[in-house]
Symmetry: C2
Subunit: 270 residues, 2 copies
């Protein structure tokens, strides 16, 4: 793995470059992105320079797609006819089924390994990139983890301190519907209902409300793609959550017990 191309050098792409460098990766790291993102990433030391997708396709051993989901799908279609046969294409998209389906259509000529680093922060862009972003966080892989470059790539993920989890794409999308997409919507709906009904409650906000509204700061620009590409799992999770909120009143004590078990278990595991 002598050359890595990062397509979409934002928070995740920039952090991937910085993490590679920090872990001692000696090869070349190039970016395919807007000029503004390339400038930020260059300044942070996340990439060595910017190239076109065509140049990346012709020269990179690993192509890392870290755009929003629909951007990844479009890049896959563009890569299809130009990518080298021995290249490994991987991605950081937040849903995996539509991406796996597009890979089967467009990237049959090379190897594709689906990926999802479960990491992030409130800030966006390469300016906020962080070599330690993936430490202790799950990095889900779907697809073919045994390709020679995939083995090398996974070794670097280990050096980032990420926890590799291998799942199939459908299983991934179901699980993140619960663990990531539902919490996002719970936070957004909470903040939106407070905005509508009780904006004056902000004056008595404690640390709990800060926790519960942090995700609500996320932009729709990022989430639109996720909501659209995991609609059935998200719909089912939302329905179950609404049902639980309705059931809560009948037996607060039992639900506090259940909730507390899950929340504590989560902290023991991590």
């Amino acid at each position: 793995m002598r050359k890595v191309a990062i397509v979409g050098v934002g928070l995740i792409g920039g952090s991937f470059g910085l993490a590679l460098r920090k872990a001692g990766y000696p090869g070349s790291i190039v970016g395919v992105s807007s000029q503004r993102s390339l400038d930020q990433a260059l300044e942070r030391g996340a990439i060595d320079g910017g190239v076109t997708l065509e140049e990346a396709a012709a020269t990179a051993d690993l192509i890392f797609l870290s755009q929003p989901i629909f951007g990844i799908l479009e890049t896959m279609r563009q890569l299809g006819p130009i990518v080298r046969r021995d290249t490994l294409v991987t991605d950081a998209g937040s849903t995996k089924q539509v991406i796996a389906e597009e890979a089967a259509r467009s990237l049959a000529g090379c190897t594709f390994l689906g990926g999802h680093p479960m990491a992030g922060k409130e800030l966006r862009g390469a300016a906020a990139a962080d070599a330690e972003l993936f430490r202790g966080r799950p990095w889900v892989l779907t697809g073919e983890p045994d390709h020679p470059t995939a083995r090398v790539f996974r070794k670097w993920l280990g050096l980032f301190g990420a926890r590799e989890i291998i799942l199939d794409a459908a299983q991934h999308d179901r699980l993140v519907g619960w663990s990531s997409h539902l919490p996002q919507l719970a936070s957004t709906a909470l903040a939106a209902v407070l905005q509508d009904q009780a904006p004056d409650s902000a004056q008595v906000a404690g640390p709990g409300l800060m926790d519960m509204t942090r995700l609500a700061m996320s932009s729709y620009e990022l989430w639109g793609d996720i909501l659209q590409t995991n609609a059935p799992a998200i719909g089912a999770a939302l329905d179950a959550y609404i049902g639980k909120l309705q059931a809560l009143r009948a037996d607060f004590e039992t639900e506090f017990g259940r909730g507390s078990s899950f929340a504590r278990g989560l902290r023991e595991k991590s």
Copy 2:
């Protein structure tokens, strides 16, 4: 204010004692609590010693009630016949209307100032007490802030770094129904539905799920009293939240915008 008695020397009561000491309060601080809590509070330096409620009532200038709500109500009834006329009784109960009503019945012979420090942490007990717990946090006062001892008490709250907010009891309960009780139930229900439907999603938990399930670790022991004494406001907030979750699907983009406005506004204010 030469002598302060803290009734219920747990996290809040212990932190009150430590904050007084740190701010330079030179008088005596005594505790009325279980032997175990008194021992912990003594060890932490939050109190000078333990006394009975009768001794506290006979000697303290300020009596600070920091028990669970039903404990506070019971202590008020016990204090009624024995408290000195010039004593200021204040409290740290999380709902204020039932406490204000009990004060009107039981503590007409002295002065009562309702209070609610909007601070806390996951740990309980005086062992977890923290002189800085109130810094930057709202401390709501309801009732009579102009009693001479109340003026002194408020001066100390200012020295703790707390932000004094004066509200009437009904207004307080409505606002915290939105800003504190609804977020608690949103977190509990989220963790409970994950426990029921997708306990395996814990393996792909990111930082957002950690934020959204932190409150779910709270114990029913603390929340039972709150849910019971603010039931109408909580019911209305829960209904509105369920309605918002149902409406969300129709227009994710608008609700992300609203939620983001509230969440960002909250951070600019604090």
